[in-house]
Amino acid sequence: MSLILQGLCKRFDNSEKDTLHEIDLEVKSGEFVCIVGASGCGKSTLLNLVAGLEQPTSGKVLLDDKEVKGPGSDRTVMFQEHGLFPWLSVAENVKFGMKLAGVSKEQQEQKAKYYLEMVNLWDYRDYPIHQVSGGMRQRTALARSLTMESKVLLMDEPFSALDKQTSNRLREELQRIWMETKQTILFITHSVEEAVYLADRVVVLSPNTGKVAEVVTVELKRPRHVYAPEFVELRHKILEEVRGEAV
């Protein structure tokens, strides 16, 4: 698997300058890449381009040497708002993508069980969406994305609408799940701490130029701890970088 962003530019119709300018980035198989930047730096736009939900002004996104033209299940997205279907139960939501793909009933059942257990929601499988908490909804959305076993999983600030405690728990779980599955992930966040906690590489976007300001490789061993001195130091360093870029 290889995901390559080549000279990616995006300018919106009503804008004077590029929101994203000449972005070059490669995500390798099994890698966890976080994109951070101050709000308005175009990080969600970047994810939408990779997802195929928006089209670049110039440049291209290549997935396994094929240019991305539109959305598809090889690049499943987990959104900030869960995007679960309220007319389906937890388990039915998790099976949704597999059902569309025509996966057999038994296999749907089996995979749903596997991933629901992974996110600790098996006991809640028959609950309607409106009866589970915000954190459980995001875990359902995570399980739903994982079942697709996409080439790359795109995550757009998936924990930022949750309270601090829940969001911390979920990122711990995501770290564990990533260590288990080695799923390639492109993760968008405004939180440097979250990025350093999760990523192999942190890509800092600059809101001024719309370019990649810096790429930092995180070599801390997993599982990581936010209070470890090396962690704090690295977080601080990247935070300065992000602050320096924001005006």
Partner: protein, 254 residues
């Protein structure tokens, strides 16, 4: 129970008014004022020869068949308007305009085209309901939250799957409300059609009451029309609405 008591009081008040206004003071002509007793007598009489039952059954059958045709046409038209940007811009304002046209206005056309036949009545029903259904279909689809569509597309949904598995269920609550409104338009249009033509039905029974100067029969038919409307609404549409909303946790109770 409270409602039943209210009805009893209402009927009692009505009968009292009749006694005072017609019998006691002679303010109103007896042939221009219905009374509960008169309506009841009229009811028994029309039940005896089976006319009321026959008329109600005919009207219901016509109403339902006209409604089904209106739904098919309305849904197709609504989908077309929704899918095509050109039609959305140019045809939708026209449909919105036609929708405000009272269904009686279609009667001259229908009689010229179909004569005094059942088809003529169905035509009026379809014209009365289809446009409102089309508008509500278009609106319901438009109101589907974009996040559902986005999520489904990134989970690999094709266009067809998107409509079938996401847009349809997502707009179901609004769709049912639109269908309910469509039914009430259809039922009203049916009466307009039946009053103008001569086939057996509630509309005709009502006109017959007028021709015989039998105001009690007119009142009786009006009550039956209201009653059928309420029963269909409560037994079909409201039940469907409640079920859908409850399943999604959108109602107060469980």
């Amino acid at each position: 129970m409270g409602f039943l008591l209210f009805l009893v009081i209402l009927v009692a008040a009505w009968q009292s008014c009749y006694w005072i206004g017609v019998d006691l003071l002679g303010l109103w002509k007896p042939y221009a004022m219905p009374s509960p007793v008169g309506v009841a007598q009229s009811f028994l009489q029309l039940c005896e020869d089976g006319e009321l039952f026959q008329a109600t059954a005919n009207s219901l059958l016509r109403g339902i068949s006209g409604y089904v045709i209106a739904v098919i046409i309305g849904v197709a038209l609504g989908l077309l308007i929704n899918r095509s940007r050109y039609l959305q811009k140019n045809l939708k304002p026209l449909v919105l305009g036609i929708q405000t046209l009272p269904s009686v206005c279609w009667v001259p056309f229908s009689i010229l085209w179909f004569g005094l036949s059942t088809q003529a009545i169905l035509f009026v029903v379809v014209m009365g309901a289809a446009f409102s259904i089309a508008i509500s279909v278009d609106n319901a689809i438009k109101n589907v939250q974009p996040i559902y569509t986005k999520a489904a597309l990134t989970l690999g949904a094709t266009k067809k799957q998107l409509y079938l598995h996401v847009i349809l269920p997502a707009c179901l609550p609004e769709l049912v409300t639109g269908m309910k409104q469509g039914w009430s338009f259809a039922w009203r249009a049916l009466m307009a059609g039946e009053v103008m033509t001569t086939s057996i039905g509630l509309g005709q029974t009502l006109i017959m009451g007028r021709d015989l100067a039998d105001i009690n029969q007119v009142m009786l038919v009006m009550l039956v029309i209201v009653l059928v409307g309420i029963i269909i609404d409560k037994c079909i549409f409201s039940v469907a609405e409640q079920r859908i909303l409850k399943k999604r946790g959108l109602t107060g109770g469980n």
